[in-house]
Amino acid sequence: MNRHLISAADLTRDDALLILDTAEELARMADRPIKKLPTLRGRTVVNLFFEDSTRTRISFEAAAKRLSADVINFSAKGSSVAKGESLKDTAQTLEAMGADGVVIRHSASGAPHRLAGWVRGSVVNAGDGTHEHPTQALLDAFTMRRRLGRLEGLRVTIVGDILHSRVARSNVWLLHTLGAEVTLVGPPTLLPVAVDTWPCAVSYDLTASMPKSDVIMMLRVQQERMTDAFFPSVREYSRRYGLDVGRVALLPEHAIVMHPGPMNRGVEIAADVADAPRSTVVEQVTNGVSVRMAVLYLLLGGMEVSA
């Protein structure tokens, strides 16, 4: 495995399966009364968050702490440049503090790439702009495998704002590597112009895609897309690309509904769909900690998991 986890596209099939299998073992640990492992004792993990994301930060923090790492939360809200300190200066500060791992969330695509060139520790991408969010894709794959028992040949439909979605990008690369068949669905305005070069199918018709889906993954519609002519109105978007009870009824019996959160209830997903038994939204959060533990363990650890 690489020293860093920056793009899901960098993971080989063996790497990805190793992470998922390790996460599976670590998840079993979570059921014990004492959840903590000594694996990363003495190691320092910095959570470097340039963008607000309480959910992801807490998930990484919990993961690092359960592995006994020392965790430093470095919240540089807004852009580093706005604060007058460059990303490179921040990187040098982290170097001086001796960070073994840096978990970075940044509004600029590629910021983790740049950081990896400036620090010695491992860099974990916790979401960079509209590029990637590889641990989200890993926890999604983990959730699918747990619920449906396999990934090979699984038909996964990802719906919404593909153009600006780091979750969609990471999922496309990872699921392709793991043998799933991905279909992207959204209005043409929210699909990249060269999406035909991606290893997946594309459709503009959500209703037609429903019966052919083992997994349906809804993406959040960001507020700023609603004012820039990507679609005429939120209501029209919701009618054409929202997941309501009527559309869910078209899914095969076993199919699951996923959402990376936070949800816009009533926009891309109806409230009763979000809370239905086939929805995995809450499990995804739980699984996120196990998967991030596995990533930190494999990148920073050296000891065997004492199962």
Binding site: S79, V81, S86, L87, K88, H106, A108, S109, G110, A111, H113, R114, D128, G129, T130, H131, E132, L163, H164, R166, R169, P192, V193, A194, V195, T197, W198
Partner: protein
């Protein structure tokens, strides 16, 4: 009194080997086995002699950003690249939109003495795109401005563009347009296509360049004026310019060395050294640009030398400045992309890097064939050999070049400006 120079055995524009005798700022004589007692002799056996290179598109950053470049440092780099004339772009601080600023830049060029500096005047006041700058005052100034451009920004208002094209006819000026539809490129970072989609960077679509070029060609035809298209970067733009030229319209165009050699895949590293405006495109575009330069659809190579301090490039991609330096490597890149590929011979290089840009800029003292009576502005170039571009000793204040460390053919040996060497043996004279 200037020294007399005898250059022995150079291949004039790549043709037959001849001697060149330089006296009193002009080429006094050409021919075989010339003698000139007391002359300084340069053995130029097998070197190519080209008329001094002319750059239509150089950012010298002075006044305002002397931390990135000055007229003196930028023109020193230009001389090392074989240039004897550069057009200094108007997007300085203050903007070169008055006779005062263009005369200042022109005078700084004279003082430095590395190149003739021809300031480009802004089309609109403060490059704001709202009201015409005093184009006539700049034309009539000591700087004798003939090329006007808001480069860095597009003159987007069609009425203003029409008026600018019309107005400069009075003094045989030309509007050099940075063709970029602003609404289609808001926040744009990288060519809209495969790489931008994968890297999650906002796309800069080819149509945003092509739509403006098409409009401007039609406007230039309508008012029968001269349009020059800066840094053409797409195959579609080439088609439109080819069509406009076939109509007989007075449209000229330039391409940068980097758009002749580099493609968007380089952005995969997210290293902003590859961030430039217009962006690096695809190999299909590169092929079309090379073909167009070879067949003359694109008239010339212009560097768009755009120096930036380190801190403006050692950042996240999206916040980094656009632009790359390129004066010192331009001719080597052209050899790599055009000559060594068989698309252009050395006479063609002389035409595209000297004769035509001098004609577009209406420069009397540059871009003339190397024969007796011509001003002694010339470049001696050794096309043999191949070496990694080493710019560590560059006089430029900036190092934001994608060519550093790249293996490139050739070497600029000497540059003469008005009969005196500015560069000898690859070093500033």
């Amino acid at each position: 009194m200037k020294a007399t120079w005898l250059i022995r055995g150079a291949r004039l524009a790549g043709g037959e080997q001849e001697d060149l005798l330089i006296r009193d700022g002009v080429i006094a004589e050409t021919g075989r086995d010339l003698t000139a007692p007391g002359a300084e002799v340069i053995d130029a056996d097998a070197l190519i002699a080209l008329p001094g290179l002319v750059d239509l598109h150089t950012h010298l950053r002075e006044p305002g950003r002397e931390d990135a470049e000055t007229v003196a440092t930028g023109t020193a780099a230009a001389a090392l690249g074989g240039f004897t004339a550069v057009h200094a772009m108007a997007n300085t601080d203050p903007v070169a939109d008055t006779a005062g600023v263009v005369e200042q830049v022109w005078r700084l060029g004279r003082q430095a003495g590395h190149c003739d500096v021809y300031p480009v005047g802004a089309v609109t006041q403060r490059l704001a795109g709202a009201a015409l700058a005093e184009l006539g005052a700049m034309a009539d100034s000591a700087a004798r401005v003939r090329v006007f451009s808001d480069d860095g920004r597009c003159v987007f208002d069609p009425m203003l563009m029409r008026r600018a094209l019309e107005y400069v006819k009075a003094f045989d000026g030309v509007i050099a347009q940075h063709a970029q539809e602003p609404r289609l490129t808001e926040g744009a970072q990288l060519n809209e296509g495969e790489m931008a989609g994968k890297l999650g960077l906002a796309g800069w679509p080819a149509v945003a360049e092509e739509a403006v070029i098409a409009r401007d060609c039609l406007l230039a035809a309508h008012v029968e004026s001269r349009l020059h298209v800066c840094h053409v970067s797409t195959a579609g733009s080439v088609e439109i310019i080819r069509w406009a030229k076939r109509k007989g319209w007075r449209v000229t165009a330039e391409v940068t060395p980097h758009h002749l050699l580099l493609t968007e895949e380089l952005a995969a590293s997210y290293d902003p050294v590859y961030k430039v405006n217009p962006p690096l495109r695809t190999s299909v575009d590169v092929t079309a640009l090379r073909t167009a330069l070879a067949d003359g659809t694109i008239d010339c190579v212009a560097t768009d030398h755009a120096p930036h301090p380190v801190e403006d490039k050692e950042t996240e991609w999206a916040v980094a400045a656009f632009g790359m330096t390129g004066l010192e490597t331009a001719l080597r890149v052209v050899q790599e992309a055009m000559v060594d590929t068989g698309l252009l011979d050395w006479a063609g290089v002389a035409d595209r890097l000297s004769v035509r840009p001098a004609r577009i800029g209406r420069l009397a003292g540059h871009g003339q064939p190397l024969r007796a009576g011509a001003p002694a502005c010339l470049t001696l170039y050794d096309p043999s050999g191949r070496a990694r571009a080493d710019l560590s000793g560059s006089p430029s204040k900036s190092r934001n070049t994608p060519f550093a460390g790249m293996a490139l053919p050739g070497r600029v040996v000497a540059t003469f400006l008005g009969g005196s060497p500015t560069v000898l043996d690859g070093k500033l004279a």
